[in-house]
């Protein structure tokens, strides 16, 4: 089934939980209300005509613009089509890319979550592959996946401070290993 048709089907069932369909011509990505992610995922996995049994990729991302000099599209307003509210901090997001081996079709959706208190329901029960991917997004973006069986850092040390892939991450000057404080070398 074509991705736009799948998006319409999801919209028929979940109504307002589907906020928009992004870039319909290139590679359609449905934007989902974050609270509904697990339900939508379960629907996509268990509906026989969809049967998305394979989670290809789960990626966290940050919508904060990298540079000031070019207009960024990746604000929540432009992604969802909602009127602009300039005071809100740019949210974080998670993108899900799915594939079905039985029907050989693919689908992508994403959800935004506020920067200060990022929460998204875990899909690790639906696709075990999400387990490590969600740990990675938690590790590098600080997104909390509610209901994840074992949410802890995966790539960085347990005592690392900060979430490096956020655009406003400031690199640490020093790092504690046990009782010793190691100064991180600069300028080479």
């Amino acid at each position: 089934m074509d991705a736009l048709a799948i998006a319409t089907m999801v919209k028929d069932v979940f109504g307002g939980a589907v906020l928009a369909v992004d870039q319909p011509e290139v590679e359609p990505v449905a934007v989902i209300e974050p609270a509904n992610v697990a339900e939508v995922a379960r629907f996509l996995r268990e509906t026989p005509e969809l049967a998305f049994d394979y989670l290809m990729c789960l990626s966290g991302f940050d919508t904060m613009p990298t540079e000031e000099d070019h207009p960024a599209r990746n604000t929540p307003e432009e992604d969802t089509g909602a009127p602009s509210t300039e005071t809100a901090a740019p949210p974080l997001g998670v993108a899900y890319h799915l594939f079905s081996y039985s029907h050989r079709h693919r689908f992508a959706f994403k959800a935004h979550t506020p920067r200060e208190n990022p929460h998204i329901p875990s899909v690790a029960e639906i696709w075990p592959a999400a387990d490590w991917h969600e740990r990675e997004a938690f590790d590098l973006f600080g997104i909390i996946f509610d209901g994840h069986p074992d949410l802890r850092r995966i790539l960085l040390p347990e005592d690392w401070v900060g979430r490096p892939l956020r655009k406003d991450y400031a690199a640490q000057e020093s790092y504690r290993i046990g009782d010793a404080c190691v100064q991180i070398a600069r300028g080479w």
Binding site: V26, E27, D53, L55, M56, F61, P71, A95, A108, K167
Partner: protein, 371 residues
């Protein structure tokens, strides 16, 4: 009176030859039996994805070499295909043919490395040396073409860094002829070796449903009986115009989803890659392989997820462009990362020696797991 036994926690790695890099396995053992094995990754994390956000698209290519350092050509390939899709660039036929030749030669080199290190894990030294003898010939070809032996940085968005050197076709042909004979010798030594079969048959079974649920890809997935190959079923580059078979575990290739099936699938893929290289070499049209785009490409605003078939499985690039010369997000869906996530699930109540065989059969590269 029964003897009281205690479970022992054993750390395999991070510095241990069987872990193929810096991976730590926290293994709980009950005598010779492994009751659980929990992998700890991240020792090689070097913030590739963060770096990528500060570099232009062409500048990222050499960093992709370092993801899966045993198949740098394929990583380059995956990344440039993703950017080309984002930008809608068409690449000339000659460049595409050379790309496929290099990618398939690199697949052979990578699978040779797998067979070598896998046999080493099982306690056999000879196949390792035999495989490295042939891999060396491929590295010589790569060195002549790209100037490097391991990290090639050969592909460019919209083309290639350099054309083929004069006379390289004959060198590739003579390598292939010699190599096919060597592979028959390897079959006698390793593939049909009774000890090898006894060590691998029925070890580390991954059923079809588990393989899909854990997101396995590449030979790991096909060994479990899923007939899927990105090159054939979601063709990129010129794969749609080439003829090749996709080896799948099951009836033709031994049992389903065990270590031996994973070995056999890779062994059969080597033959297919040889055939693909021959098909491409036979008919390379003239043309200019140098990229026809600017050095600082500026893809339109948008996001794509593009996957290609690496020796280890599906390498996916999730790219978000904000319309500038630098990507806003580059996420690498590394095949080894997903393949490794099933490891603790299948390493329960097995012998320690079998655990090493299973780890070898996953064929991990820590460079792309940790990124």
């Amino acid at each position: 009176m029964p003897l009281k036994t205690e479970e022992m926690i054993l750390n395999v790695g991070p510095q241990h030859p069987s872990t193929h890099g810096v991976l730590r396995l926290e293994v709980t053992t009950d005598g010779e039996l492994v009751t659980s094995a929990e992998p700890t990754i991240g020792y090689l994390h070097r913030c590739f994805e963060k770096y990528a956000e500060t570099l232009t698209y062409q500048q990222i290519i050499p960093y992709t070499d370092r993801l899966d350092y045993l198949s740098s050509m394929n990583n380059n390939f995956g990344f440039v295909v993703a950017v080309e899709k984002l930008m809608g660039i068409h690449v000339c036929e000659r460049a595409e043919r050379i790309r496929v030749i290099m990618a398939e030669l690199n697949r052979i080199a990578s699978h040779l490395m797998f067979i070598g290190s896998f046999s080493n894990d099982l306690g056999a030294m000879t196949p390792f040396l035999w495989c490295f003898r042939d891999r060396e010939e491929i590295l010589k070809i790569f060195e002549e073409v790209s100037g490097a032996r391991l990290l090639y940085n050969y592909y460019r968005i919209g083309g290639l860094a350099a054309d083929l050197t004069p006379g390289i076709e004959e060198k590739i042909y003579s390598f292939l002829n010699q190599f096919e004979a060597h592979m028959l010798e390897l079959d006698d030594l390793f593939t049909r070796n009774a000890i090898v079969i006894a060590r691998l048959k029925g070890v580390g079974m991954i059923p079809r449903e588990m393989a899909i649920a854990y997101g396995l890809s590449g030979p790991m997935l096909r060994a479990s009986g899923v007939d899927w190959d990105c090159r054939r079923d979601e063709p990129y580059s010129i794969y749609a115009s080439l003829r090749f078979e996709v080896p799948v575990g099951g009836e033709k290739l031994g049992a389903l989803g065990d270590c031996y099936a994973r070995y056999l699938v890779r062994r059969a893929e080597i033959d297919q890659s040889v055939s693909l290289v021959r098909q491409c070499l036979a008919d390379i049209p003239p043309g200019d392989v140098k990229e026809q785009v600017k050095r600082n490409v500026r893809p339109p605003v948008g996001e794509v997820y593009v996957r290609t078939e690496n020796p280890r499985g599906e390498i996916g690039f999730y790219l978000r462009s904000d319309g500038s010369t630098k990507p806003s997000r580059v996420k690498v869906r590394a095949p080894s990362f997903c393949n490794m996530s099933v490891f603790s699930r299948i390493s329960k109540d097995i012998l320690v020696a079998d655990m090493i065989a299973i780890l070898g059969s996953v064929d991990i590269v820590l460079g792309e797991i940790d990124r």
